[in-house]
């Protein structure tokens, strides 16, 4: 077992006074088979009581409604997370025989159950003819093997470069200009997997900052893909790794828009500047 102290800070500064606002933060790690959140502390600069809600996928939101004028707002969320170290990443030997795996993948019931993660979104959609053939699934090896090779191929194909993309950069843009950060790697991998009708979802979370990983300074993103019998399996194409005890999951969804750490609505809509700070310290 490994224990992390995580803190997330967001600071919003507005050019003019805001009269009312609602903010939703999707930043607290989820509790699952492999991780557990123990201590949790939430403070905000306006001392307004927060409340919790759940998004459509059942993940915890921290929400604040501000009903008085303000032009500065800061929130700090800190927590302690225990993460299992016996990584449960499956091996190919656990897979079903290839024909059975493919038969399930092609079945109507499977597609209906997973359609949300099979259907492309505007951020993940790729024109079929633009996908390099080296990334395509030839149905000659198990899904797990294919996913692992795709993970490596994307790592090799893209250049990690902060500042050249933003959260609305689409997978097809990344294909044309193969540079970007974790959400670009992730959207592209989702696009390729979904092109093959393989269910795949966007995961947001934190990465252990004690290692030499790409993308650990801010919130990180990676992929979970569904393999019949094995369930959801995590891949981190930005680091050419499988998701393991260094990856602390917050939420998943169809793409970035389901997982963005901060959503807000302010009235009136005045220009603002937002700063996020993330700390992930292994104890």
């Amino acid at each position: 077992m490994v224990t992390y102290h995580i803190s997330y800070e967001a600071e919003n500064v507005y050019d003019h006074q805001v009269q009312e606002a609602l903010f939703e933060f999707l930043v607290v790690p989820c509790t699952s088979d492999t991780q557990e959140v123990t201590e949790e502390k939430i403070e905000n600069s306006l001392k307004i009581p927060f409340f919790r809600s759940r998004n459509v996928f059942g993940y915890n939101l921290i929400c604040v409604r501000i009903g008085k004028p303000f032009n500065h707002f800061k929130i700090k969320v800190s927590c302690t997370v225990h993460k299992a170290t016996e990584d449960s990443f499956p091996s190919s030997a656990d897979s079903l025989p290839l024909e059975e795996e493919l038969a399930i993948l092609d079945s109507d019931a499977f597609i209906v159950d997973h359609y949300l993660y099979i259907q492309q979104t505007p951020l993940t959609a790729l024109p079929a003819e633009k996908i390099p053939s080296s990334l395509l699934y030839q149905r000659d090896k198990s899904l797990l093997e294919y996913m692992t090779s795709l993970n490596s191929a994307l790592y090799g194909m893209l250049e990690y470069k902060p500042g050249v993309t933003n959260p609305s950069t689409r997978a097809c843009d990344v294909l044309n200009n193969p540079r970007g950060v974790c959400q670009d790697y992730t959207h592209l991998m989702l696009g390729v997997l979904r092109h093959h009708q393989i269910p795949a979802r966007y995961v947001s979370g934190y990465l252990n900052q004690g290692q030499d990983f790409m993308g650990s300074a801010q919130m990180h993103a990676w992929v979970e893909a569904f393999v019949p019998k094995l369930g959801w399996v995590g891949f981190d194409p930005t680091n050419n790794r499988v998701a393991d005890h260094h990856h602390i999951k917050v939420a998943d969804g169809t793409d970035y828009t389901d997982c963005s750490p901060l959503k807000g609505h302010i009235n009136p809509p005045v220009p603002n500047k937002t700063d996020h700070t993330v700390q992930v310290v292994q104890q």
């Binding site: 609602l22 409340f51 809600s53 759940r54 109507d108």
Partner: protein, 490 residues
């Protein structure tokens, strides 16, 4: 001295049509029995008197503010009245009973369908409705997944459009499940009839429609969240520039509910509050007349200023009910419509009471051959594209276009369905310019309500008249008018 003209003379000159079913006159030009009393009454009115009454009806619509805005081209922002024709449309009791039963059956099935496709998805797994059709729908709403609104009711208010075909049968033309409008016309038309033709009306034993606002209020209150005894219910409008603003304000007034805009409400701790001079007041049910896209900028269109941030979270937490629920648009799509009879059989194990326009499925051998041979008489629709895209109208296509389209169908038979073009019945209607009665096409917008253990159908509905000769489209924004619609008591 010029002899004064009576309506009787006008009816004698009435141009009959054998092409369509005439609601008032039978094939031999005889008055249908259920119209006899109205006919006798109208026949004795002189033309100048009738014109006077007609003008009076128009003026009263205007004075009450029963207007709608025309958005198209030059007339932007102009307020128009929806012309009201004094000759009422009459539906015999027996026919109405069938319509009413059929509507209730249809709404039960549609509510079960919505619950299914947002939760278990059995009907898709059983291949009764193609999954591609549902998943491609713009209105299939991710934010309704794995959640059931109070009582399993998604569609509290539905506006089913019905026509009477040449064969004398009623057919459903489409379902409107996204807070349909028009009921205020039903109520104001009835008010006008009572005022202008009181003797005729009160002798005719017409079933009432005035109970609609009360029934709507009951339905809205019936779906209040669990544990709320005296629910606070509001009507949410996009505002006074909306074309149906008159209706929003009218219904709110009639139901004794606050009429609010998005900026009057806010969400805190997953509850919805109304801003009042006495401080925030919790709101339990919202009859919203704002489209899904605009109701919550946190979830749907972020640029919406009409909605309430956080509303969907409050809804999914069960702290507020929305009437109608979001995501119902997936079930009133043109292609999904063709599967409603299958839904009725699937969920209710009943045969549909009301007819759907017949659908040929090209995947079936006989149907396929029929479609190829009769393409000029059919409308062909793709099953995997919603929103009216890719529709092929045989009668408007050239021979070459028809041949080309046959090849497209042959290449992917599963993808296409076809329907005959329906002919709407006609109704004798006073045409001002010609100072006489002429046949005009009519349809019927019905209004049904589904609440917790409440099912209600407004007895009558809005008969819409295509005022342009030969025009099959009957819509308020396309030069249409309306008639009071009478369902007689037994």
């Amino acid at each position: 001295m010029i002899q004064e003209k009576y309506l009787e003379n006008l009816f004698r000159e009435y141009s009959r049509t054998s092409e369509f079913l005439d609601e008032v006159f039978d094939e031999n030009g005889q008055i249908r029995q259920h119209y006899q009393r109205v006919y006798n009454h109208l026949a004795k009115i002189s033309l100048p008197d009738f014109k006077y009454l007609n003008d009076y009806a128009k003026k009263s619509s205007f004075d009450q503010g029963i207007t709608f805005n025309v958005y198209s081209d030059k007339s932007q922002g102009v307020e128009r009245i929806f012309p009201f024709d004094l000759f009422p449309r009459i539906i015999p009791t027996k026919e109405w009973e069938k319509i009413e039963k059929g509507l209730i059956q249809r709404n039960r099935a549609l509510n079960l369908f919505l619950q299914d496709i947002y939760n278990e998805k059995k009907i898709l797994k059983d291949n009764v409705v193609p999954k591609e059709l549902i998943f491609s729908s713009r209105h299939y709403c991710k934010h309704m997944m794995d959640f059931v609104p109070y009582g399993g009711i998604y569609v509290h208010i539905s506006g089913t459009d019905i026509i009477k075909h040449k064969d004398g049968e009623y057919y459903v033309l489409e379902d409107n499940l996204r807070c349909p409008s028009g009921v205020s016309y039903v109520l104001s038309n009835r008010m006008a009839t009572k005022r202008i033709l009181p003797n005729l009306f009160f002798k005719s034993r017409v079933q009432p429609v005035v109970d609609y606002p009360e029934a709507l209020a009951e339905v809205i209150k019936s779906v209040a969240p669990i544990g709320v005894d005296q629910p606070v219910c509001v009507v949410l409008t996009p505002g006074m520039y909306n074309s149906a603003y008159y209706e929003h304000s009218y219904l709110a007034l009639q139901m004794g509910m606050q009429l609010v805009e998005g900026r009057d409400l806010f969400v805190d701790h997953n509850f919805v509050y109304m801003k009042t001079i006495h401080g925030p007041k919790k709101v339990d049910v919202i009859y919203r007349r704002i489209d899904d896209d605009f109701i919550d900028p946190m979830v749907f269109r972020a640029d919406s200023t009409l909605g309430i941030p956080g509303l969907m979270s409050a809804f999914r937490e069960g702290n507020v009910s929305l009437v109608n629920a979001p995501g119902t648009g997936v079930a009133d799509d043109k292609a999904v419509y063709t599967y409603v009879p299958d839904m009725i059989r699937y969920y209710l194990s009943e045969e549909p009471i009301l007819k759907n326009v017949f659908t040929y499925r090209c995947e079936k051998g006989d149907d396929f051959l029929y479609v190829l041979e009769n393409l000029d008489k059919l409308v062909v629709k793709p099953v995997d594209e919603s929103g009216g895209y890719g529709i092929f109208i045989g009668s408007k296509a050239s021979r070459q276009e028809q041949e080309d389209f046959k090849e497209i169908i042959k290449a992917n038979r599963r993808k296409y369905i076809a329907q005959p073009i329906m002919s709407l019945s006609v109704h004798s209607t006073f045409i001002e310019e010609n100072e006489r009665f002429e046949p005009r096409h009519v349809d019927l917008r019905t209004f049904s309500l589904s609440g917790y253990q409440i099912e209600y159908v407004c007895k009558g509905g809005l008969t819409r008249v295509a005022l342009r000769k030969g025009n099959l489209i009957v819509n308020s924004s396309q030069g249409g008018g309306s008639k009071d619609t009478w369902v007689l008591q037994e």
